[in-house]
Amino acid sequence: MKKRMMMVVSSVLAAGTLLAACGENNDDTTPINENGNNNNEVTENEGNNENEGNNEATGDGEAFSSKMVTDVGGVDDRSFNESAWAGLTMFGEDYPEAEVDYIQSSDASDYAPNLNDLARQGTDLTFAIGFLMEDDIRTIAQQNEDQNFAIVDTVVMGDDDQPVSNIANITFAEHEGSFLVGAVAAMHSETDQIGFIGGVESPLIKKFENGFKAGAKYANPDIEITVQYAQDFNDASRGQQIADTMYGNGADIIYHAAGGTGNGLFTEAIDRNEGGENVWAIGVDQDQALTEGEWSEGNVILTSMVKRVDQSVYQVSEDTMNGNFPGGEILEFGLEDQGVGIAETRDNVSDEALEAVEEYEAMILNGEIEVPQTDDEYEDFEGSL
């Protein structure tokens, strides 16, 4: 009896050590520094080792590490977080000596511990994906002044109303991209009625709304636009309900900036198309036609307004590695840097509309059209038409 126990114990231990060895090997693949990382004068690295505690990985300053904390959606949310992780992965592939990783947050109370975890590991650049982490990243950046942080979609102000000096603020010109899809929607609408579904009402989502409305009005001054907010980013049934009402009232194209709520819009559009109607939806953040909107005779997604979170994450990582950390700066990725735009899937879009998109894009770039972001700016814009 005893002998058998010993056998079991020792085999478990053996299996354990073997498996543990496998795990360690994986970890070791990244920080090899063979092909002369010539860009490695990152001065910010020096301060990291001040943190006592479990500084196991990377803190030696040899290799650059760039890691991110996801929002509750996780890295497979088919939107924002996934895009950010794609950018980091690409960065890791292009610079194999750099270490990239992510931590997933299960709920809002995980933000601070996760950010802190990365900071204490001595991560050179820590990304917070999403404006909900604003308060947590502010605190942690102030506690770890020697380290670099970046946040997507918001600007983090310190106590003195200036951007915090060790946080790079990544924002996008969503209004510009939304303008283009607004124009597409207006040119495709047969009923001259289109709709917009927002997630939670906030200055950020207002940029989508006002850009969209402006683009639609610019392309067709007679267009009617209905706007409704779901006050939720994660309620697909609410999204479907709103879409049902809008389509029911005569709109035939709806654009959403509502995260998971927008999936309800696609469901409703698919149902209606299967039922013989001809309605469209416009996606947001990523090229959503690649993952959503399939129905028996095609795809209900006319096009999408893409926000290249991946590119911004890549670029900020690269800059930081090269010693040009844009701390305290507000980076806006707009049409100019291809930070926003219309998706590559555009089979459903008419040539006429695509030409118009190109034309408007040029006009926005040379300043002929100034796309409104807030309600007030939109009113001025509408008045000037």
Partner: protein, 353 residues
């Protein structure tokens, strides 16, 4: 005499076995999904005890869980299932923050006032299902579930329309109403540990005292054991139901105040439930509705949730696994019959030998 002893023993034995089974099952899942359970559990444990920061965060996480566990247990002792702890916690959170922002007073008045406001709001949210149950025999489970949604959406409405400061949240509460402590933060290397932890310990004692040392507490438990007998003995069953739900709600409300005045120092628009209330059911169940049991199981769940982050970053195990382990532990507690059966088989075999 022997029976009493045996009963107490199984009272401790069942949860411990359930926890053990939960971890073993978790290890099996990790093996199947290609992770090494030894590394993972090592990372989990060092994620709880490894650094002062982690330990501080663990205590911080368990604080609201203690309150939601106490709330569930208190109602349960009177034979009521309070599924509405979530909602009571949300209104408590909001109200305490409201008082924390709107009032200017010295700390000695302001802080207790804000805590009291949270307790009152939670009590009110528990009172409604209590009175509906007592007067109209409406089942408290249904009412409390519905009250959760009302709480979340009403609070979201108020924050969105009247109190929004930046992004999704209200302003910070005044320092005089904050439970945050520079001292605790410093000794735990910048964790969010706050004085609320002490409040939670006191609350455990209060619950024990009310239930086991007062006449009212005896009545409450008596109603829980047998309504009809209690009524026959001259106790007002209806009054006790209302009282129990209100006190339960008050515990939950203070739990919300822990988040509002301690952890975050603000209230924010909730995209979905916080789950503290629902976790409270698990905490109470595992702690077999006793103060000490709740304290320990809140520590376990708070620790698991905190350690999950480290398990993720060090061992590469998905944090969802911790949720599965918690669910399995609850499953095994709930199926304590099974454990008792195995235990008795084991016992009789031994005796047979």
């Amino acid at each position: 005499m022997k029976n009493v002893f045996k009963g107490n023993l199984t009272g401790v034995f069942v949860p411990l076995i359930a926890i053990l089974f939960g971890f073993v099952a978790g290890a099996v899942i990790m093996l199947v999904s290609g992770n090494n359970p030894i590394t993972a559990y090592g990372a989990l444990i060092s994620g709880i005890f490894g650094t002062p920061y982690d330990f501080g965060e663990t205590l911080q996480r368990m604080t609201p869980l203690i309150f939601s566990g106490l709330a569930v247990a208190f109602a349960f002792r009177t034979g009521l299932l309070n599924i509405g702890v979530e909602g009571q916690l949300i209104v408590g959170w909001f109200t305490s923050v409201l008082v924390g922002i709107a009032i200017e007073a010295p700390m000695i008045i302001h802080l207790p006032l804000a805590l009291l406001a949270g307790a009152l709001a939670g009590a009110l949210w528990g009172f409604v299902p209590g009175i509906l149950k007592a007067r109209f025999q409406v089942h408290e489970v249904i009412v409390t579930i519905m009250m959760n949604y009302i709480a979340m959406h009403v609070v979201n409405h108020f924050i969105r329309n009247y109190m929004i400061e930046s992004g999704q949240r209200t302003a910070f509460v005044n320092d005089s109403a904050s439970l945050s402590s520079e001292f605790l933060t410093n000794i735990t290397n910048f964790s969010r540990l706050h004085w609320g932890f002490l409040v939670a310990v006191i609350a455990c004692v209060i619950m024990w005292f009310i239930l086991w040392k007062t006449k009212k507490g005896f009545e409450l438990r008596s109603v829980g054991y047998n309504k009809h007998a209690s009524s026959y003995a001259g106790m007002s069953v209806n009054m006790n139901i209302i009282l129990s739900m209100s006190v339960s709600g008050a515990f939950a409300g203070v739990g919300g105040a822990m988040l509002g005045l301690g952890t975050y120092n603000y209230a924010n628009i909730l995209p979905s439930f916080t789950n503290y209330g629902f976790d409270g059911i698990a905490v109470a169940l595992l702690g077999s509705s006793t103060s000490i049991g709740i304290f320990l199981s809140a520590f376990l769940f708070g620790g698991l949730k905190q350690g999950a982050n480290n398990m993720q970053s060090q061992a590469g195990v998905a944090p969802e696994l911790v949720e599965i382990i918690i669910a399995l532990i609850i499953f095994f507690v709930a199926s304590s019959y099974l454990i008792r059966w195995i235990y008795s088989r084991f016992q009789s075999k031994k005796e047979g030998k």
